[in-house]
């Protein structure tokens, strides 16, 4: 989900006229990159469970940021303190976890 979020950020950035202009000024080809990123997104989405992808879409459209880090044991989207059992789960980054209040997908930066 983090990769999908980062990929969507790249796609959104290259969709902006100001960034495209900058990249073109550097000699890069943002149009071509945008097409390729779209193809890579399709491949990545295929590898994500439909349930999680649907959730990602719903949360993205509601909040803009569907994936947020946990900072000081709180969801950084809604600042809710997460339960201890979630914060200290041994496999906390190995499965998709969501904030029980806002529903955003949460991760722990290491």
């Amino acid at each position: 989900m983090i990769s999908l979020h980062d990929l969507d950020t790249m796609i959104a950035d290259l969709g902006r006229a100001d960034i495209r202009q900058q990249e073109e000024g550097l000699g890069l080809s943002p149009d071509q990159a945008l097409v390729e990123l779209g193809k890579m997104r399709d491949v990545l989405v295929e590898s994500i469970r439909k349930r999680w992808y649907a959730l990602y879409g719903q949360i993205s459209s509601r909040y803009g940021n569907a994936v947020v880090p946990v900072v000081q044991n709180r969801c950084s989207g809604c600042f809710t303190m997460l339960p201890t059992s979630v914060n200290y789960a041994g496999d906390r980054n190995e499965q998709v976890r969501t904030c029980s209040i806002c529903g955003r997908i949460i991760y722990w930066a290491d």
Binding site: I2, S3, H5, D6, L7, T9, M10, D13, R16, D18, I19, Q22, E23, G25, L26, G27, L28, S29, P30, Q32, A33, L34, E36, L37, M40, G64, N65, V67, V68, P69, N93, A109, D110
Partner: protein, 146 residues
């Protein structure tokens, strides 16, 4: 804007992917999982279109939710790293955070680097004689010991 950079003066990598890994390895305080995801993001951007911006200089970059702050790492390879069709003697890698305020910091850095590359020219930059000089020509502040 934070313009501090780490430097790998003598990159040992002989291909683009390992150069990205080697450069990111010079940045401290990034966990193994985050590092892996950042490499993946940089790799995706490169696969979408190689970031060789001017003869001899590559500028791999991305924005990621895994970063709290802008990270810049520069490197130099005396033999040149295939990027992938033409060699890059200097690699300027940066990863910007994803902030609610948008990509302004990312854009400011691109503009800053573009301006210095234009003013100093690729020959001077790729021919820099020391890490300090390379950072100076790119308008960056070298993190000593980094």
């Amino acid at each position: 804007m934070n313009k501090s950079c780490y430097c790998v003066w003598d990159l040992q990598s002989t291909d683009r992917d390992s150069a990205l890994t080697e450069l990111l390895a010079s940045v401290p305080n990034i966990g193994a999982h985050s590092r892996e995801m950042l490499i993946k993001a940089l790799h995706i951007r490169e696969q979408a279109g190689a970031t060789l911006v001017t003869p001899g200089i590559a500028m791999p970059h991305c924005r990621s939710i895994l970063m709290d702050d802008l990270v810049i790492a520069i490197g130099r390879s005396s033999s040149g790293i295939p990027w992938p069709d033409e060699p890059a003697g200097v690699v300027v890698m940066f990863i910007s955070p994803v902030k609610p305020s948008g990509p302004q910091e990312h854009m400011d850095l691109i503009a800053h680097l573009a301006s210095h590359m234009k003013n100093n020219g690729p020959e001077r930059i790729t021919g820099a004689s020391s890490p300090e000089k390379l950072a100076e020509l790119l308008g960056l502040d070298l993190i000593q010991g980094g």
